[in-house]
Amino acid sequence: MKYEKSFLLSLYRTMLTIRFSEESFIAPLLDGTVRCPVHLTSGEEAIAAGISALLTPEDKVFGNHRSHGHFLAKGGSVAGLIGEVFCKEAGCSHGRGGSMHLIAPEVGFLGAAPIVAGTISLAMGAALAHKIQGSDAVAVTYFGDGAAGEGVLYEAMNFASIQNLPLIFVCENNFYATHMPIRETRKKDTIYESSLPFGIEAVREDGNDVLKVYEAARRAVELCRNGKGPFFLEFMTYRLRGHVGPDDNIQGNHTDIRPPDEVAEWRKKDPITRFRKYLLETDAVEQKDIDVIDLDVEKEVAAAHQLVRESDVPNVKELNSYVFKKTVA
């Protein structure tokens, strides 16, 4: 399989933008300047990057509590993310939502919300809208292994299937739902298989290999665009940070129960280091191409922080804004 250099570099850039943006929250989280709950996706960037490379602004995406990557990969702005994490007016939700409520309708990112599995049916609704409108756009719902415990996933799989909706179920399986390892929450850890009885084609793939993600998603998007959805993708991955915040064992109640060896093992599979190595080893790109992007993204993140620093905090006089679009006097 041959890929254009610019394409490969754009995948790299997307992943790096997510990583650098998120890592820029570590210090402010630890010193308390960032206060809202922040669920970092570090280590899982390849999934959103690989999938979003196939999507257009017409395609709709819904996220969850861990959606910085989904938002940025779909084209949400770095300043919009950083501003929201700092709960400033410059944030994509004007400081009303915080890290768990990201949105960029202009690029098809229709929202993220932390009620586990809560946006699966919404993404299905977006897919339904596309079908009714006769558009070939697709919808993507991102959810974790934990969300597979909620009944709504199964209701949505059935309905999407009987309606042939252009909906891509994307399960980011990182083996844990907060303090619960997957073996304590399911007898079989093969989540993708639960879509099979609904007649939904499903694939499980390495979620830390951005090209594998891309290829798996390519088939899913193609089928969905041609009226042959839905599709179920399960990506195996691992978070390199805490469930919430930088490190669950430094903060709060010391709740990270993951074995240190396991974390160390997965650290070696960091999707960004891995992809960079692959690009250089296969001579697909040169070191200087990488350096240019590294510097560029670093600058972009720094500029976004500057913009956010200069942004106002929400004014308490505007507490009532956004309750309704049309306020009845």
């Binding site: 809202c36 709960c87 009303r96 919300a113 969300a147 909620e150 709060g252």
Partner: protein, 328 residues
């Protein structure tokens, strides 16, 4: 055996009620997502797994609807189930087993089977958590016939109301607030119950009556203590039970002081504060020397930004200034 002078915090008071109730009655069990993790439930479940085992203490997958139904069904079948939701926001997936099933079961089956279940929902807000991690929906449950709703404000009541909820033959919604978890008070060591349906006059006074519950009752008591130093005597009625309401205690106090301020940690419209204001209008209108005043959350989703949170939540100072306005 009992030492009256034992300090215990609110979370550990709940813990003790659970632990002692389970020791006293084999039919009591606890189920819910997150109960193994202090990140979810604070200290309320500390030690329970060790003492009672996985047979009776079950952390679950993220499946609120099924898990709530499990507690309800087991309670119909002879157990006393307690289902914990570490945030009331999460329990919205589990409303059907509570509102359609548990609340109606005894009535629609002509009294053949009651549902001695406890639906325990923890209010957990502030800290820029935003609209889906901040809600207080006790009024919603209080609206439903067939549900009892309790909301302790003190460690003493937390223990006694949890124990009472567990032993009550009907479905009881027990709501506590993470903002209260660290508060300490004297709590008897032995198991005891606080009667459901009884408010407490937690501060005596004759200038004005404040009716409140849960965290805002705590804030109201602080306000009353501070105002006392300024020579203002506030009577605080801590509801403890939202439903059934202790009408007599509320109305007697308000009729005595002639001034009624209702404070509620839920939204203002169609909630607890409206219910109490209506009761006062119906029963003691002529005893009041001014209109009832309500202080509750504005009809706005919970904001994330701390600057908006400050204007949103109710604290001691907000209560004090409203009292001073009313007495002006």
């Amino acid at each position: 055996m009992s030492s009256k002078k034992r300090l215990l915090n609110y979370a550990l008071a709940i813990n003790e009620a659970l632990s002692q109730s389970m020791a006293a009655d084999d039919s009591v069990f606890l189920i819910g997502q997150g109960l193994k993790s202090p990140w979810y439930v604070g200290q309320t479940c500390t030690g329970l797994l060790k003492d009672f085992g996985e047979q009776r203490i079950m952390d679950t997958p993220v499946s609120e609807n099924a898990v709530t139904g499990a507690a309800v069904g087991a309670s119909i079948a002879g157990m006393k189930g307690i289902v914990v939701h570490p945030r009331v926001d999460f329990m919205l997936y589990g409303l059907d087993p509570v509102i359609n099933q548990a609340a109606n079961w005894y009535y629609m089956n002509g009294g053949k089977a009651s549902v001695p279940v406890v639906i325990w929902g923890i209010i957990n807000r502030g800290g820029e958590q935003g609209a889906q991690h901040s809600q207080a929906i006790h009024s919603l449950f209080a609206h439903i016939p067939g549900l009892k709703v309790v909301m302790p404000a003190t460690p003493y009541d937390a223990k006694g109301l949890m124990a009472a909820a567990i032993n009550d033959p009907d479905p009881v919604v027990f709501m506590d607030d993470r903002w209260l978890y660290g508060i300490e008070d004297y709590v008897p060591e032995e198991l005891y119950e606080v009667e459901i349906g009884r408010a407490a006059v937690s501060r005596k006074g004759d200038n004005i009556t404040i009716v409140a519950s849960s965290y805002v009752a705590y804030e109201a008591m602080r306000a009353a203590d501070q105002l006392k130093k300024e020579g203002i005597n506030v009577e605080v009625v801590d509801l403890r039970t939202i439903k059934p309401l202790d009408k007599n205690t509320i109305l007697q106090s308000a009729a005595k002081t002639g001034k009624l301020l209702v404070v509620d940690g839920g939204w203002q419209s169609f909630g607890v504060s409206a219910e109490i204001a209506a009761l006062a209008a119906e029963h003691i209108f002529s005893d009041l020397d001014m209109p009832v005043k309500r202080l509750a959350l504005p009809d706005i989703p919970a904001p994330a930004s701390q600057h908006l949170e400050k204007g949103y939540y109710i604290h001691c100072d907000t209560i004090k200034s409203v009292v001073l306005e009313m007495l002006d």
